[in-house]
Symmetry: C2
Subunit: 210 residues, 2 copies
């Protein structure tokens, strides 16, 4: 199984690395980081680069595509959208994390489909023709989308179970000791203190340029 994780300038690193840490452990999987060209790709904070091992042309037909998000999701990047459309024609799974779903939607792949994204970007996802759903992981046919940033870990474990069975998924979960214990219950706008939600809405440019 060939897995392609798309990279692009200003990608949010955890969106890509959470799922990578899980999907790369699937038996028989070969995972590539794919970008416009092989080489370093700068993450959104400016303090990190991830190295793409392949260019779009080198990975034309992956079985699974994962598109991470960014505060500046490149919904107008023609080459990326063309690669996604061509790859999607042959995938078993086309997936995204955070605002990566905006890119899938901009490529026309989520039109009329249920999908999710970062909680600050639900309206924007709807404007690209998808049907925004406020859930952590949304599966509609072979399209699987995750909510913001850290939700990619839950998405990838769900995919691992669907692809290789629950025992493999559980073994990977135990390998990465994913027994989360956040010190606060503030990870969702439904549970965070209202003052924190308001604060982030006011500073939404931190997560979303648009």
């Amino acid at each position: 199984m060939q897995i392609a994780v798309a990279l692009y300038d200003r990608v949010t690193a955890l969106d890509a690395i959470g799922p990578y840490e899980i999907l790369s452990r699937l038996p028989g999987a070969s995972l590539s980081f794919v970008a416009a060209e092989a080489g370093p790709v700068r993450a959104d904070t400016g303090r990190l680069a991830l190295v793409a091992d392949s260019s779009w042309d080198e990975v034309p037909a992956p079985d699974l595509v994962l598109v991470p998000g960014s505060p500046a999701a490149p919904t107008g990047d023609r080459r990326l959208l063309e690669w996604l459309r061509a790859a999607d024609a042959g995938t078993t799974w086309t997936t995204s994390v955070c605002t990566g779903s905006l890119i899938l939607a901009a490529a026309g792949l989520l039109t009329g489909r249920r999908a999710t994204t970062h909680w600050l970007a639900h309206d924007l996802l709807g404007s690209f023709g998808a049907v925004p759903v406020a859930e952590r992981v949304v599966v509609d046919g072979r399209y699987a989308t995750a909510a913001g940033v850290s939700a990619g870990i839950d998405l990838a474990l769900d995919l691992a179970a669907r692809i290789a069975g629950p025992e493999v998924a559980q073994t990977i979960q135990l390998a990465i000791e994913y027994d989360p214990a956040p010190p606060f219950d503030a990870g969702s706008p439904r549970t965070a203190p209202p003052s924190i939600v308001d604060r982030l809405r006011a500073d939404r440019h931190l997560m979303l340029d648009a």
Copy 2:
């Protein structure tokens, strides 16, 4: 506040990137990825490189050091251990994720201290002079250690609250939508099905060369 995340050959990427995604959002923080030399550092799966922006010499006195783990934690890397000892003399926080605590312990920094590591490596941590504790995040003085791989996210939110206060930590948690919902309760040897624990113990080389 200067934050240094140490990188080295065969590092486990999520150990570094989980905390980075949180700590780099602390107000006034400047985060560097530091390695023997600046440039790409290969992760444990062989399919990814993270780019270090600085060498040990360039970041001699960080306020916070974070050492990620690896299946092959370089507990005999003299230059890394020397850098850690020198940096530690001036840190506010010296921290690790997963088997990164073996490296801190090998540098002599955890002798007699309560600390944690990947659940498969507790005995090994004890053999380096630390007092292994089966908790997800362990704080002993200015030494804070996390359990395996994904536990670095919980560690970093805990540190964010201690450094910048609970409101900042909660705002970051909401920004990365950390409202975890693992599809299985298999992330700890205490909760995973015994057959899964046995399976990973038999394949422990996947997580630990030693």
